[in-house]
């Protein structure tokens, strides 16, 4: 019998074009290359400079999401895009994709959306695949048992030219999530708790594998939220073994295998999960049932507390002191009832239909507090359409929240959707770094449920006050 292998090791071995040697990294084949307007222009320029083509346009897929407007009149109405340089980037992606034969979902395409939302929607994201994109949240696709990670623009150019990457094999890190999450506690709370436990650099050099009862019980959308933030703990990739939930999600998706190819794919996919007895380089376990809704209080995603808890007192630690000064919060204070000016629901972390349903369920019959601006941005145009078909947009409008076209939007504020200086935003996105959502913006990361509850009260609020009646 061969040595038991982890899922990561199986996917890695299946993609070695040239194995690693003492002198050279491995050459790894890439099954799917997702690309967008912000991290591709200089990579296309590299091709131009060397007179190269995109080797596998059939494995390359482009969309625009980071710098795109979310205002309907700018997307569909011909109104000028607020930021000139963003408009230029969009045009440049259109030109590059046309010149190199890459399929592009343009600004007005009904299937456009955030790159990590549409890959799964199309069924392009498949178990056992290697998937890369010039974006660190590519880890999202690991929810399907793919090895998916973010790369820089030079590497985007390498994949364009050769469909391969030079890679050193990562170490493996098991995260065993025991028990079940309780009512009102979401996958977002779980991943925030994991980041708090592992630390923002604890996963450096590793690929996570999330396992255990709580993970198996999750839908694909929920698994994506977990894998999405692996990078926030320093891990380039996070994986979840494919199972019946995965297969049911993929079956019938536009680009998923069909007929005999589907049957053959299923056979391959069922061999992917980590073998019994396989060794991980590191392992931790976490008790899902003990978790509460989580919220960040500082300037990195590891600075996180249960919503009923207090901001820790680490006065004298320069990171902590700088974060408190930036956030305008105080050591030892409860996080509950902290001020809220802006609420953002969206992003590749929490911009899927189930996130919008959870938001609507809490908002229904309530109003966003006076003085609070709530922005809800669907992760894709497909998510938008489905949400509207269910009438979620009506609930948002009745509550006084703004409903936009899809895109990354206020997660990183590149398109002009920003949090004003000094204001507090409860955000379902993934990063609370200084200035991430706008110059001087103060971000508190939380689940859609916590975001909605906080929007209603105008203060940081435990969503279980609404969920449990």
């Amino acid at each position: 019998m061969s040595t038991p292998k982890t899922m990561f090791e199986k996917v890695w071995a299946a993609h070695e074009v040239v194995p690693e040697t003492p002198d050279t990294p491995a050459v790894i084949f890439i099954d799917l290359h997702l690309t967008h307007e912000v991290t591709s222009p200089q990579a296309f320029a590299l091709l131009g400079k060397h007179g190269l083509k995109v080797r596998r346009p059939d494995l390359t897929f482009a969309t625009m999401d980071h710098a795109t407007p979310t205002r309907t009149e700018q997307v569909f109405g011909g109104a000028p895009i607020t930021i000139d340089s963003a408009a230029k980037q969009i045009r440049q992606l259109e030109e590059n994709c046309a010149a190199y034969g890459v399929e592009l979902l343009g600004l007005q395409d009904a299937r456009r959306g955030i790159v990590h939302i549409i890959g799964p929607e199309f069924g392009l994201t498949q178990p056992g695949h290697t998937i890369v994109c010039g974006d660190s949240h590519t880890s999202t696709h690991g929810a399907f048992g793919a090895l998916a990670f973010g790369i820089g623009t030079t590497e985007v150019g390498h994949v364009f030219a050769t469909q391969c990457l030079l890679q050193k094999k990562a170490k493996t890190f098991e995260i065993d999530v025991r028990g079940r999450l309780s009512a009102g506690v979401t996958p977002k709370d779980l991943i925030l708790a994991i980041i708090g436990k592992v630390g923002v650099s604890g996963g450096t050099g590793h690929v996570f594998e999330y396992r255990g009862e709580a993970i198996r019980a999750m839908s694909m959308e929920q698994r994506m939220t977990v894998c999405n933030m692996s990078i926030e703990a320093g891990a380039r990739a996070g994986m979840i073994a494919p199972d019946e939930t995965t297969f049911a999600y993929l079956e019938g998706k536009p680009r998923a295998p069909k007929g005999a190819a589907w049957t053959a794919a299923l056979e391959r996919w069922k061999l992917l999960p980590t073998d019994a007895g396989a060794k991980f380089d590191r392992s931790i376990s976490i008790d899902a049932a003990a978790l509460e809704p989580m919220i960040t209080y500082g300037t990195n995603p590891g600075m996180v507390v249960p919503i009923s808890g207090h901001i820790p007192d680490r006065k004298g630690d320069p990171v902590f002191d700088a974060a408190m000064k930036y956030m305008g919060l105080n050591a030892g204070e409860p996080i509950h009832n902290a001020p809220v000016n802006v609420v953002f629901v969206g992003s590749c972390t929490n911009g899927r239909l189930s996130d919008l349903r959870a938001t609507a369920k809490i908002l229904a019959g309530h109003k966003v507090a006076k003085g609070v601006h709530m922005l809800i941005v669907p992760g894709s145009q497909e998510v938008k359409r489905q949400a509207e078909a269910e009438g979620l947009d009506k609930i948002f409008a009745a509550a006084g929240a703004e409903w936009r076209e899809s895109g990354c939007s206020m997660c990183l504020g590149m398109n002009g959707d920003t949090v004003p200086k000094g204001e507090y935003a409860v955000s379902t996105s993934n990063r609370n770094f200084e200035g991430r959502q706008g110059v001087g913006a103060r971000t508190l990361l939380a689940s859609p449920e916590t975001a909605a509850a906080s929007a209603i009260r105008g203060r940081v609020t435990d969503p279980r006050e609404f969920i449990n009646g």
């Binding site: 660190s136 030219a161 469909q163 391969c164 450096t204």
Partner: protein, 192 residues
Amino acid sequence: MEPIKTFRSRTVVMPSTNIDTDQIIPGRFLTTTTKEGLGQQLFADWRYDASGAPKPDFILNKPEAQGCRILVAGRNIGCGSSREHAPWALCDYGFQAVVSTEIADIFRNNSLKNGLLPIVIDEATHQWLLANPGAEIEIDLEAQQVRLPNGQSASFTIESFARYCLLNGVDELGFLLSKEADIARYEARRPA
């Protein structure tokens, strides 16, 4: 790329822990289609006030930081976004090396592709560098040594292939392109 072997410079010290790529280059400057000129926006929100004037207290605005090519950062620099604009901005500004006890994976990779040395050193050397801002140190890529003015030295590791490329000023793309036959063979046996 120019070959890199040994260079000496005074250090700039930024002791903050977890300096993320949003600080190195804020997202609003990523709507560019070239690599050039990003040094102007390096650490923009720490470096300039709301009117765009340099903040005199920020290290890069101080006279002693001018001309320094080595950035010594607190633990774990480069976490967050995959934006290669971060090393582009550091290089464009004039940095040739970033030194810390931990460097995030994607930032480290991106740095190597641009001739910016990501140097991970031991805790004691790091403490010495943090305590002696502006020290003139030598970085020897071939020997993988950092040499301090007090006569001590510390070793670091850059994987052999990346080191070869940096020492010889060659691009990794050439190596990948040379594997054409292997890639074609792989493609032929890959499931559809």
